[in-house]
């Protein structure tokens, strides 16, 4: 673990991200206790990790005993899939990588996340998450400091998973969602009140099928922004002050909620100001509510850790005020919604709040019975009548036997309504109301507002209107031994878009059959494994939500040999980059499914090529401060998780050691793929200035190169090499008496895609018109490009998620990618032509001095990037004439 001094140097010396104006539910720090309050959020330092990737590890002290029928592989699979949820946020630049099993006693230099199983917790605690920051906060006031680094996070579960209070099998949705939530904390997210995954207590409405809500996505995307996120979303700013004191209200929660079910929130600063960023464009009602008051023994309401500063000032939350909608009403029908557009700020959404002793109603949970069993935050069909039951602190009286007098409830927005007079006491402290839903075509969370004694409570996702039914799995049919048929999943509401999870690991859906069943290719697994099968639909519904007490469907894998792994080389040197070959026996390595970890934050996988089911080649970087000694190798392919302890040795750094640095980059595009005949750039470490007699090869062929004063090599990649991974070897003269320089891999790509032409849309009646100076495309409009050579070497056209646009140097998503239909009258094989469409960003501002403004556009996929296409946009409008006084 780092010392405070090293942590201090590390935190200050590295490039920072822009200051957070709205670190609303992060771990927040201030440089001082007096204003202006510029929140500094805690997050992983992306400059301290490779490729924006934080590694997470699972302790080599495995949990035991386990629930009957559960197994370690299943548990590890669920942990990995929970981490993958956060990897799925494309607007976040942070990635999580499974670093495998590790010995938690080995000190690490590079930040990471540890998942441990440890019963060294008092009875009554089932799991806890710990974040570690630098102790000395003096650096907060240093110029240029914009964040506080998370040095390490630990997610601690009990070792005995059968212990009272935690008798959950790993396949349960609850176990999975707990892990997703805890991973959110490890990354720097605190609690919110928007029915999101990071919501507190019992108000969460997310499911395994839809595990992140808008607030979660906004939170992680603003903490680790990828390009383009900020300009695609909007903001709301304002201030919350006390009606009596006139002072700013600290740590009030402000929520923007749309009638389409999106809820994004922020928390005020000590002066009462707030800014909610990352709001998808829409119309929003905005309300302010206090955090639930602190409990006995809790220093902080809602267990939200308040801001800290070097002077240890007190930033306690003000929880004594009444909830209200903007502008100053508790009746949402009287509230004034604010329009939020991409890149816009809705300002001065201010509140003057009335003091109170505490919330009249809080911590609401809802249930419905759409499938005959109780489901929390239930799904209701459109145009249907449903009973919804809910429990909330304060909603009942007389020892929870009667509804609180004067309590009323309403649905926010037009998507549903409560039948007049239907609100009533039900049983066991629960209230009941009959709800009629509107005829909707898309899944829509619905908010419930409850009023009592002059106070208001809002639950952003009391239920969700779901047009589709929940999936179910009634049978899992494996092919007979020796058959090449697929495994068949039988059930209801299964479509080609249904995900089939096998102990959490996704199966590949091969076909959606006419009888409603799915043919799948299950993930690789260990011999004889019995795995639980779950169906998950895109609307968030899962086959487990109505499982009740029924047993979960199982898939039993056939007996097979136990897989083994070996690696070359046996030793890596601290401070070097190197290739590594992992060989397997009875393994099933697969591209896109195999993950390899080395049990150390100090060893990073920088590139991976799956050559065959029994061979993977990697590029590794070993941190200079990596602790010498043995370490684990873990290879995970679906449910086939193989861990080899002490297989790899880390040797201490050698001052004479020279290293090539990975990834090897394309000198033109800056990406990690170079076409044959292209120019590669390779950074090095420790290279001498005189390279007389030094040779460099790419694959088996010699390559011409030059070196600059910084040791960066510019390499002419030879032609005649096969597409894919090629070794790069730099060799010193025989008499140089230097340690051998580890080889690395480069990615040899096919030729880059080419943009042939572009047309704007909509297409006029006369037919498409090419984009040109005389036909510029205004921002906000779509363009369709004809692109040649986008497919992979196997002829597969990448999906829209694998294609991006580089527009004026900024990255934007492609809107669609479709293959140009083959000429039916031609016998020639279809050309590799595709239509790629995108939306011209609204943030493009033409230079008024240029008469025909344009911006370069490139299309990229994987490590390939096209040349620039010139996109003409309309010139700037002339400035209005100055008025004469």
């Amino acid at each position: 673990m780092r010392t405070a001094a090293r942590a201090f140097l590390f935190a200050v010396a590295l490039t920072a991200m822009s200051p957070w104006a709205s670190a609303y539910y992060y771990y927040v720090f201030f440089a001082s206790g007096t204003g202006p309050y510029a929140p500094l959020a805690a997050h992983f330092d992306l400059n301290a990790i490779k490729d924006n990737t934080v590694q997470y590890f699972i302790s080599d002290q495995a949990p035991a005993p386990l629930m009957p029928g559960d197994n370690l592989t299943a548990i590890y699979s669920q942990i990995r899939q929970a981490a993958e949820v956060w990897n799925g946020v494309r607007s976040s630049s942070l990635r999580l990588h499974f670093g495998g099993t590790r010995n938690m006693a080995t000190p690490q230099t590079v930040p990471g996340i540890d998942v441990v199983f440890d019963d060294n917790m008092p009875p009554g605690i089932v799991a806890q998450t710990t974040l570690t920051f630098p102790s000395d906060l003096a650096f907060l006031s240093a110029k240029g400091t914009t964040f506080v680094p998370i040095l390490r996070s630990k997610l601690q579960l009990r070792k005995d998973l059968t212990a009272a209070g935690y008798q959950q099998s790993s396949y349960s949705d609850a176990f999975f969602m707990t892990l997703v939530h805890e991973f959110g904390h490890t990354l720097g997210l605190q609690h919110t009140f928007t029915s999101a995954t990071m919501s507190t207590a019992i108000t969460r409405a997310t499911t395994r099928g839809a595990p992140l809500a808008a607030d979660d996505i906004s939170g992680i995307s603003l903490l680790y922004p990828a390009g383009g996120y900020a300009v695609s979303t909007g903001s709301i700013t304002g201030k919350v002050i006390g009606a009596v004191s006139g002072a700013g209200i600290n740590m009030a929660s402000v929520v923007a909620i749309s009638t389409s079910g999106v809820a994004v929130s922020g928390i005020t600063r000590p002066d009462g100001t707030y800014e909610i960023d990352g709001i998808p464009p829409d119309q929003y009602y905005i309300y302010v509510h206090p955090l639930p008051p602190p409990q006995a023994g809790e220093g902080n309401p809602a267990n939200i850790v308040p801001p800290a500063d070097p002077q240890k000032d007190n930033f306690a939350a003000n929880t004594g005020f009444v909830t209200q909608f903007f502008p100053g009403t508790q009746d949402w029908t009287q509230a004034a919604p604010a329009g939020v557009g991409a890149g816009s700020v809705a300002k001065d959404v201010n509140f003057v709040v009335t003091p109170s002793g505490g919330p009249a109603v809080y911590a609401m949970e809802t249930y419905g019975y759409p499938q005959g069993v109780a489901i929390p935050s239930p799904p209701f069909l459109p145009k249907s009548r449903n009973a919804i039951v809910f429990y909330a602190n304060g909603a009942t009286v007389n020892n929870q036997s009667a509804i609180a007098p004067g309590l009323s409830a309403s649905i926010i927005g037009p998507t549903a309504s409560i039948e007049p007079g239907s609100l009533q006491y039900f049983a066991s402290g629960f209230l009941l109301a009959w709800v009629d839903t509107a005829d909707l075509q898309v899944e829509t969370p619905v908010a419930l507002a409850v009023r009592l004694n002059g106070d208001l409570y809002v639950l952003p996702a009391a239920f969700t209107i779901m047009p589709g039914g929940a999936p179910s799995v009634t049978a899992v049919t494996l092919p007979s031994s020796g058959s090449t048929a697929a495994t068949t999943i039988t059930g209801k509401n299964l479509t080609a878009n249904t995900r089939i999870l096998v102990d959490g690991a996704p199966a590949h859906v091969l076909a959606a059959n006419k009888d409603g069943s799915l043919d799948i290719l299950q993930p690789a697994a260990l011999s004889g494994m019995q795995a639980v099968v779950e169906a998950v639909n895109p609307d968030g519904q899962t086959s487990f939500q109505s499982l009740g007490a029924n047993p979960a469907p199982l898939l039993t894998y056939p007996q097979a040999n136990a897989p083994q792994i070996f690696q070359t080389p046996d030793t890596v040197v601290a401070g070097t980059d190197t290739l590594m070959v992992i060989s397997g026996v009875d393994t099933h390595f697969a591209d896109g499914q195999t993950t390899i970890g080395f049990g150390s934050s100090d060893i990073s996988v920088r590139g991976q090529w799956v050559v065959s089911p029994t061979m993977v080649i990697l590029n590794l970087s070993v941190d200079p401060a990596a602790r010498p000694g043995p370490t684990y190798i873990t290879v995970a392919t679906g449910l086939e998780i193989v861990t080899a302890p002490n297989l790899l040795n880390i040797a201490a750094a050698d001052p004479k050691q020279i290293s090539l640095r990975v990834p090897v980059l394309n000198a033109v595009t800056g990406l990690a793929g170079i076409p044959a005949g292209g120019i590669a750039r390779i950074a090095t470490a420790g290279l001498p200035a005189d390279l007389t007699g030094w040779t460099l090869t790419v694959g088996p062929l010699p390559a011409a190169y030059t070196a600059d004063v910084n040791g960066v090599l510019t390499v002419q990649v030879p032609t005649g090499l096969g597409i894919g991974a090629q070794t790069v070897q730099l060799s010193a003269p025989a008499n140089a008496a230097l340690p051998a320089i580890p080889r690395v891999m480069l990615q040899l790509d096919p030729a880059p895609p080419q943009i042939l032409w572009g047309v704007d849309t909509p297409v006029p009646d006369g037919g498409p018109v090419l984009v040109s100076a005389s036909n510029p495309v205004p921002p906000g409009q779509s363009v369709i490009l004809m692109v040649y050579g986008l497919s992979s070497t196997s002829g597969v056209l990448p999906g829209v998620g694998a294609v991006w646009m580089n527009i004026g140097g900024a990255i934007y998503p492609a809107a669609s990618v479709t293959r140009v239909p083959a000429d039916p009258n031609s016998t020639a094989p279809p050309s590799d032509l595709a239509y790629v469409s995108f939306v011209v960003p609204t943030t493009l501002v033409p230079d008024p001095a240029v008469s025909n403004p344009s911006v370069p556009v490139m299309v990229g996929t994987g490590t390939r990037l096209s040349g620039a296409y010139t996109l003409f946009i309309p010139p700037a409008l002339p400035s209005p004439p100055a008025t004469t006084p």
Binding site: T3, A5, F133, A163, H181, T200
Partner: protein
């Protein structure tokens, strides 16, 4: 229809309705940074290694392994259950050893305040609170001068012994009552389990 069934069920089988709602609670278990197992007062009394009424006198922070703990020193005013001699209780989180650690849900004790502490001392000798904030009751004097022990519902996610989500409840009672209940729990713990039928007899009294 569902309501009719439920209402009929409630009328005929009230315990079944309770079971339904226990099931409701387990149908979807939300997540929280710290997940607690709900401990009854009886369980806390039995599982604690010691129980004291104490006044916090100060605090310091230490590193144990890779974890930081805040050690609250206390002056014992009354002992309900004797255990390993200790005058401090460790709460996870704090600033020490070059690290600042945050554990969401960790309680904060105030110097000068009185508490009832349900303590658990591990094999390593570190003494912590039972169930995070569950083992912490505030002691306050009422207007009549009597002592009252209270603990509000925990904000963290809670599970019962079977892993079902439950809502925590506020506990507040006169200090004497808490003492009596703890004593009774400990007395039950040391007596043998009654033979079948005896419990029903006692319940009928």
């Amino acid at each position: 229809m569902v309501l009719a069934v439920l209402l009929w069920t409630m009328a005929k089988h009230p315990m079944r309705v309770v079971a339904i709602f226990a099931f409701l609670a387990c149908a979807g278990i939300p997540a929280s940074a710290t997940i607690l197992q709900q401990l009854t007062l009886d369980e806390m009394a039995r599982k604690s290694t010691s129980i004291v009424r104490a006044r916090v006198t100060g605090c310091s922070e230490v590193v144990r392994g890779s974890d930081v703990f805040t050690l609250y020193k206390f002056e014992t005013l009354e002992t309900l259950k004797s255990g390993p001699a200790t005058r401090e209780v460790a709460v996870p989180g704090g600033v020490a050893g070059g690290m600042r650690q945050v554990v969401v849900g960790a309680p904060t004790l105030r110097a000068g305040r009185e508490y009832v502490l349900f303590l658990w001392t591990s094999h390593s000798g570190l003494t912590q609170l039972m169930g995070m904030s569950q083992g912490l009751f505030q002691i306050e004097r009422t207007t009549s001068g009597d002592l009252r022990a209270s603990r509000d519902a925990a904000g963290e996610q809670m599970l019962d012994a079977a892993g079902h989500a439950v809502r925590d409840e506020t506990l507040s009672m006169p200090w004497k009552e808490l003492k009596a209940r703890v004593s009774k729990s400990m007395a039950i713990a040391v007596t043998a389990a009654p033979p079948p039928g005896a419990q029903a007899l006692r319940a009928g009294k």
